[in-house]
Point group: C2
Chain length 226, copies 2
């Protein structure tokens, strides 16, 4: 076993545990909305404290690895990426909480005529989050690359909800607030997907040592063959 293999293992497990908790919160936040289920909402609010606590613990763990082991090259990239992923996960958790806040408010309002398909969007987002963490732990750039292409699906689903809601608001002014809420919920899901995309980009950077942020696709295709 290499000198800090054990600490890396602990860090892996902590980030994976946090990722699973965040993915579960995303799932429950949307279930609470779709099924008008208050229990799910309260579970998300309860788990927020745990996610916040884990963020601090993981930062501490990373800091102690830097201080004691002075990692270099690939190990150093692993540590930098762990800090970034930790932040992304915590913000995804915040977004799940903010969906739940809307969901709790909507329990007291009459439903809209139109069924909004949040579940499909939420399932895709959830799988992006989990795959990102899996790619990180396995140091698997191919897995990470798959997440980048999910982003188009998210855009389409979000646009569809947007168009539906705009049409509704135009037809019936009484729906404006509730339709706007749905637009903002779809945006929150999209932002969680954006964070998952950030995680994927960081994993590719970690594994390949190339930075996929801010590169054009042609360059990337070339780099992936290296």
């Amino acid at each position: 076993m290499r000198p800090f293999e054990q600490e890396f293992q602990t860090l892996n497990e902590a980030l994976q545990e946090m990722g699973a908790l965040v993915a579960q919160s995303v799932h429950r936040s949307v279930l609470s909305l779709v099924e008008k289920n208050e229990d799910y909402a309260h579970q998300v609010l309860r788990d927020e404290a745990r996610i916040d606590q884990m963020e601090i613990q993981i930062d501490d763990l990373v800091a102690s690895i830097i201080a004691r082991e002075a990692p270099v090259a690939r190990d150093m990239r692993f540590v930098v990426v762990a800090i970034k992923i930790n932040t992304d996960l915590e913000r995804m958790g915040d977004l799940a909480v903010s969906i739940v806040e809307r969901s709790l408010a909507s329990l007291r309002q009459p439903g809209l005529q139109i069924e909004v398909n949040f579940s499909e969007m939420a399932n895709l987002v959830e799988s992006m989050v989990l795959t990102g963490l899996d790619a990180f732990v396995k140091r698997d750039a191919v897995l990470a690359r798959g997440i980048l292409s999910s982003d188009d699906g998210i855009d389409k689903l979000r646009n569809h909800i947007n168009c539906q809601m705009i049409e509704l608001m135009k037809k019936d002014p009484a729906t404006v607030e509730r339709a706007l809420d749905n637009i903002l919920i779809a945006r929150r899901l999209e932002r969680i997907a954006d964070h998952a995309t950030n995680v994927a980009e960081d994993v590719i950077f970690m594994v390949k040592g190339i930075d996929v942020r801010h590169r054009d696709p042609a360059q990337l295709a070339l780099a992936s063959q290296l």
Copy 2:
């Protein structure tokens, strides 16, 4: 001069330069919108490439500090925080670009009857960004703490725009798309302010070694007297 004083100085200057560029982009994105000025919009789009480039350079700089100097204690916190601030700045830049995209689209649309007060919100956001970087460079927790309290002002301004636009949409369905655009622009400004708040929290963590994320205000007041 301490061993890595020179590298820290370089890192400080790079983050400050990036922060100034980001604050300028936020400023110009809103000017392009309020004054319907296409030149400002194109300047923001042009500067995005520079911001992206700086993000990568700063990550590289941090990585080389970690690898060569193995910083400990306060220096190590400085390095971890630099990674986080770098990410926050780049995302603020992205949000400025996304405001500009809306602004360019709005040039081709007739204006709304209501004057939306984006400038006040933008000025506050811009000053939060610059103060955050200043607090980082000066390692000044008091300055950083001031930013946390600006957040209420942002909430109020955003809520005001929200209410105005909802009322407008209800009165005149023809305004729905444009009013929704304004709501989403106000949210982007709010998200830039959120990133500035993250920077401030990280600076307080760096200076005091206490984590202000996820703490209640009473605990914080106590900690600030320590």
